[in-house]
Symmetry: C3
Subunit: 483 residues, 3 copies
């Protein structure tokens, strides 16, 4: 009986024993009892959140007198650790290194649910997780890991929003359920992530720093430094060595603005390359049931980040280009051109060229911008699968084509001048076009019926002969039908 009374899940029961509902209601249903050991920030925030949601809270501190009054919200009972141990749910708001200090309470804690809210002190630790060590210390209590992701701040001010989740794991299902129910009651999305063996992952999660962004960021930096150095070499260093021409002042703005678009374009093509490779692999293997090599899997998972970084570079490029006209230098050029009485005769094609590469650039960036928007969690979730594919692949390729057009229009008139290749270094925009063009061509080839037809068959579960055991071929596509 113990368990139920305090288990938040008990809430529903009084309705169920019709003899005296009104009596047992207020206590058991409305106000499940929660005990928190420790009086730190987390303890404070958790207790006030619990109070808000109408739970009874008892905080156990080593010496309650020592705590300044008003530290805890109203209605929270402050007791000694011994005195606090009522109810089945006990939160341990201590640093794990202090768990041993609780061994004296072992008999009192036995039979209760100990919620371990601790985080790992560092990544890749050896041995057991905090929760597992706790479980060893208190074999007679059932340990549940959870609530550790939440900062004191979130607990206090966080919206009662189910999209803020509490991941919970533990070996005793019923204890887990009490904790899950409590988490839900506090307005969090509560998720059971399995046995206590999962606790290590939960404990380390808060220490991770954008793991999924590391690779893409590195790629961007490498690409950028390559292009930057290449341009610096070609437009700044060589001219200086060659004819002592001082272009140093190109470095902060102009060179950056030549490298950025190249990076953006290559990154964008990197977003769509893994998809192509995957399709080719499936075609070649004649089945979709073989796993992809890991590097490809990882690449696939990094596409979103690659795309966003490509968008970032493109946006920066746009801003830089616009700012070029504000530069002091541009003022000089015009004025001096004017001073030298240059008559810059109107070249129709030049006007067309600049207008075309400007508009293709703007539109390309615009489309990319829509893509970036849909990668916002709340927007992406509002899309169904077909819409998502349409945006990601349809619009994505559109922006790739527009960007390539942008570069081609930009480069058309000096792509074929020998002076564009001085020092035997091809212009940057040519280099940046290689990968995108490969992707576009590859994509085009895959659209040809000779490829697309078998590919679709494979994607629906069909398998080429060498992948099927003999007798399968009689049955008409047994496994074929699986979603």
């Amino acid at each position: 009986k113990e368990t139920n009374q305090d288990s938040p899940l008990y809430m529903s029961t009084p309705l169920l024993d019709p003899q005296d509902p009104m009596e047992s209601v207020p206590l058991s249903v409305g106000d499940p009892m929660v005990c928190i050991l420790g009086s730190g920030d987390f303890s404070r925030s958790l207790s006030s959140r619990l109070r808000c949601c109408g739970c009874r809270v008892v905080v156990g501190s080593r010496d309650p007198q020592r705590l300044p009054p008003g530290l805890f919200p109203e209605g929270v009972e402050l007791k000694t650790q011994r005195g606090a141990l009522e109810g089945s749910l006990v939160f341990l708001a201590l640093y794990p290194e202090h768990y041993p200090s609780l061994l004296t309470l072992r008999p009192l804690l036995s039979g209760r649910i100990l919620v371990d809210v601790s985080n790992a002190s560092s990544l890749k630790q050896e041995g057991l997780s905090n929760a597992q060590r706790l479980a060893q210390m208190f074999p007679c209590s059932s340990v549940v890991k959870g609530f550790n992701g939440l900062s004191a701040w979130t607990l206090l001010t966080g919206a009662y929003d189910h999209s803020r989740q509490v991941l919970v794991c533990g070996d005793c299902p019923s204890s887990k359920l009490s904790v899950l129910a409590l988490a839900q009651r506090l307005g969090f999305g509560a998720v059971d992530v399995g046995g206590l063996s999962a606790s290590r992952a939960l404990e380390e999660a808060p220490l991770l720093l954008f793991p999924s962004w590391r690779g893409p960021l590195l790629t961007t930096m490498l690409l950028f430094s390559f292009f930057y150095l290449y341009i610096a070499l070609k437009n700044v260093l060589m001219p200086f060595l060659d004819r002592a021409e001082n272009n140093l002042h190109h470095l902060p703005l102009i060179t950056v603005n030549q490298a950025l678009p190249a990076v953006a374009l290559v990154m964008l093509s990197l977003v769509y390359m893994p998809g192509l490779l995957a399709s080719v692999l499936q075609l070649y293997r004649g089945t979709k049931y073989k796993r992809f090599p890991d590097w490809l899997d990882q690449w696939m998972c990094a596409r979103k980040q690659l795309g966003l970084l490509s968008f970032l570079c493109a946006a920066l490029h746009a801003v830089y280009s616009v700012c070029l006209s504000i530069r002091r230098a541009s003022g000089y050029m015009i004025l001096n051109a004017a001073y030298q009485q240059v008559l810059d005769s109107w070249v129709e094609t030049q006007v067309w060229r600049s207008d075309l590469y400007l508009s293709s650039g703007i539109l390309g960036l615009g489309v990319l911008c829509v893509l970036a928007l849909t990668s916002l969690p709340s927007v992406g979730q509002a899309l169904n699968w077909r819409e998502f594919t349409f945006v990601q692949s349809g619009l994505g390729y559109t922006s790739l084509v527009l960007s390539v057009a942008h570069v081609l229009f930009f480069g058309w008139d000096f792509a074929f001048l020998p002076r564009a290749y001085q020092y035997y270094l091809p212009p940057v925009f040519l280099l940046s076009l290689v990968l995108p063009c490969c992707v576009l061509i590859g994509r085009f080839l895959l659209l040809l019926p000779c490829c697309s037809v078998p590919l679709n068959r494979i994607r629906r579960g069909w398998e080429s002969k060498q992948n099927k055991p003999e007798r399968e071929r009689q049955e008409n596509g047994a496994v074929f039908g699986d979603v």
Copy 2:
């Protein structure tokens, strides 16, 4: 005994073994058993998600041997379809055209919950939905529709986020509840959307492609092409016919940039027109209890999309205008002007004009930007009703006023020159002002007490005499009080 009874997750268990719950707790409560028929992608992703959340999973494949090892996550039992049929929940991860192949299992499936996760193969199909046909085939099992919106991808990598929902429908409430509970356990927001008759809608949902955007997009395109052609006719074609003046190079950039603001402005006024019409209609009818005509309802629902598209056009217009100064052509003009020694004498009013229309434009766009932000799901949900109205209607009209001011400042000096009307075609900005001005005037009139007072009465539930049966008039506003 108690414990299980109260746990919501227990819903699924009674079907398992009613005799001794206490025993089956760890199993039934903690690890509900789920069976999946079919070994495709969906089956794989679903099974690994189930494992993550600590469920027991048995996958039934036609011949388990055939499946390459490591295809399914650890802990998933691979059996024959017959052998797999344990537990009450059975997911059918097959294409609907293969359901008949299960008829042999009918006796085994009877009494179990069949979850149909299939999507419609095409929109607007005749006859029964997949789920309904399934229910016909297996009258002794209870069919529940659900989980079909989710892609294999979402199941695998999707955050355990309740804002990602699983819509469920079915005719047997208790079965539905088991599926709902499972969905919640997997960390999705689970919603009951009624009987199996709703399954058609669920099955077609994933096939829809931005249904709510079709109308607004069409409007934008029509408006754009109208304005574009009008400007092309006036500034490119006529001058050419008239005095062989070649303005072809206006088409890619300048003409677009003249059409965009017109479109943006008209769209913005279209956002606020239906609200006005609705008020007028209510005033005229003297009640709010009559339904609006459908076209008005639909227009009302399209306001958000109209607004976002208007913002898009406005933003593009801003970018284009800024880019105009980068254009090759603008370089020519300045230089040649300089070459011809033009002394462009300073006209104070001109400076004021340009500064004023620039700032009103920038501010208008800024306000529109805030509006667009609040239409992001996650932002909009954080607003209460009053804040939402303030932003949508208050800020909305502000931006409309600012945009109109922008256009007026822009046009003030050549609105009244005869040459602005050459070929008897009024300038575009005048055309684009018509609708917005109507809206602003209409809005202003509705603010006058003579309209606003009765309107508020009506909105609070008051009804004019002709809408009320005779005797009502004695009672003092009986229904008046309804929220």
Copy 3:
């Protein structure tokens, strides 16, 4: 028994009478019965939402005949108020001023759950809240406050999204639970916020208009008007009085664009100042267990808004600066400069200066933009604590440094010219640098080991001697270990 059967919480019932689960299921579990008194918009929307989620709905109107057919969705029973009173849940969809009209139904209502969905008519009312008055009128029914935040619109079209919450409060826990369960069933996030005393807050919530933005907005406006007037005085008024120079046309654009960056910079420093003050205070007090003064707490809570407004100003500044080159005036200057045959001799340092302050500005804004993005609810929630700190504090200071650099580069050449100080007024950019520099220096000092080491100790719970009672010093940091 009746009552429970219809309460949505009863879903768990089949477990409760094991004799014949299949029987009692359909009614009790699937279709809880809900009664709505009142036939207004809210009633209509609520009833259709309830129908969608498979609940039985009875609407009680004063005279059902009077209501136009088709006003309510199919399946909703329209009855007289008396006739409608079945089931345990009764929604009152009336304006609170009409509650007394229900007194006649008191006997019928007794024992039922009355859900009060009303909002406060105005902020800061005296006396009891609507819900409390209702509870007084109907002592034998249990009143639950809830669903009031939701607009009819949200009820109708709102996604079944748990991030849209229903806050519920009431004195009878079991009734509250039924309402919470119903809210969840309708696909809302349901949160218990305590006893009926909390109803005042719930009723007033929908009337609040961006309470958290008021302070920061005021600050921005004050700062802006100060800088604007200062600049107007220095660059427009004084020159006019002094040498009758007419710079009036500066006011709309140039002056604004000089004030904006100053405001942005000061605001940004205001974001990081409270954090510094808090650290200093903790160092000085030698403990983290003393509460901060209220003004500091409030300041801390306003940081997000301050940051966003600073970003807004910075963005506007960027747009303005770019637009300056489109201005009519800039055209004049160039042309006339050209006309007067000015030879603007190339000054290398000038080019460097302009390029450097442009790039530092762009990058600073870019970083700030990332910061602004993470303050979107859906994005922020996807970050763990370490990532959030990294972005907010790490990137935040980066952008502060970049912005300061931007200003320094901008001002370097005329910071030391006497004419920059004419009329004894220092240039604006100097004024705007004061606060940011203080923040940066303070931050730097806190990073020195002499400060950072004790600070970290304090943050881990350590307390200086004067804060600890005598004997504590023997025990090795008893409370030290609390999270």
